[in-house]
Symmetry: C2
Subunit: 235 residues, 2 copies
């Protein structure tokens, strides 16, 4: 049963996370202090401990929310087309767009090492599960593309037996794709991640003042590797 207090509590939690988000975009991750959030709501700092066990938990909750928001955005972008190949480009471009529009949030999600990934309850963490839901958008889409038209995988002699063994182990997770296809799927994600991280974190600034065209070319390169017929040039 949902009492008056339950509703109020949920509302307060939402306000706290909204204030944290506001501080995040205004001053970066380091500006999201427990006391600063409390000050934003006109509360005393210890009051927040009624809603979050620690500052770290607050941040984790914000991260989980951000993952879900990003996931929803990517799904909306993806559904602008019904062609699976186009969807692959839409999702990739959507991730870049979101990252550039929300650099502080992106840095919080992807710019820092995953915190204690060895903890026993790490898999159960809300933020980790939200991250998996986010990753599933890419994984599901690549699997769909492969099922529709299997892309030409690199030969197993190229990958080597050790890598093939590891990829085969993940075949089930990738809906039965053969190791070479799993390899290409990982390549897609790895290159995409690297590109966006570098651009958002300004590590590409010395070489390109506007990385949009470079990103586009890289994406078409990856698309070709996945057997998609890419529009040969932009504009």
């Amino acid at each position: 049963m949902e009492t008056r207090r339950d509703r109020q509590r949920a509302e307060t939690v939402a306000e706290i996370k909204a204030a944290a988000r506001k501080l995040l975009v205004a001053g970066g991750a380091s500006a999201v202090g427990l006391r600063a959030v409390a000050r934003e709501l006109g509360l005393s700092a210890p009051a927040l401990y009624r809603y979050f066990a620690s500052h770290e938990d607050l941040i984790a909750a914000v991260i989980a929310d951000l993952y879900d928001e990003l996931t929803a955005y990517l799904i909306a972008e993806r559904d602008a087309s019904t062609d699976l190949g186009e969807q692959l480009f839409l999702v990739a471009g959507g991730l870049r767009t979101w990252a550039l529009k929300h650099p502080a949030e992106f840095g919080l999600l992807f710019g820092a090492p995953v915190p204690n990934p060895e903890a026993v309850d790490h898999e159960l963490t809300p933020s980790h599960q939200a991250a998996m839901r986010f990753g599933a958008v890419f994984k599901d889409l690549v699997a769909k593309v492969y099922r529709q038209q299997p892309f030409p995988s690199p030969p197993e002699e190229f990958l080597g037996p050790e890598l093939v063994a590891q990829l085969t182990q993940k075949s089930e997770f990738f809906e039965g794709m053969p190791p070479g296809a799993v390899y290409l799927s990982l390549t897609y994600w790895t290159r995409l991640y690297g590109l966006i991280c570098m651009e958002v974190f300004g590590q590409l600034h010395w070489a390109l003042e506007d990385a949009a065209a470079y990103f586009d070319a890289q994406l078409r390169e990856i698309g070709e590797a996945l057997g998609l017929d890419c529009p040969p040039a932009a504009q």
Copy 2:
């Protein structure tokens, strides 16, 4: 003229940076506090202001030192072979090795957004110049490889006019390489950076428990794109 005091001062500066480094490897970037460093040397916190203008300056100095150390390590690794193609693999593998051996240091160098890249004196910053010296190891090597045996660049129709214009602008910096070759050089660096970041930050852990074989395959893929004849499989 180097007085007695100048020598003592330089020694103290070195001790401070060594203590900071020790705290960094022990507890990550957040453990490198100004007071903590002072405590490590048996000094009071304000004493450090005789050597560094702020906590941020101390970190920047440590970053510059780390870049130089990493650069020296890469050069030593590279010179294990005289074949330029092999050197390209040695440098890439060296960067990965160093990153995995010093994850905290690597996170400090590459895991955070470049701080205020818009500042007027950013280019003159010691840490920025050290970063450029680091990047030059890769740039010079790729340029040498290209001069020895120009790799087959993607056609300009594929890249698009906008990207070609930007790449041509950087042709001088890349020792006269044509835009397509500059593009491939950037691809080499971008993919290498993404791979190592993901592995060090644990963002690849869900897919591969040991990314060494994956890294190797990716590197051979990149090498082929650069026109090198790669050993077809590892082991």
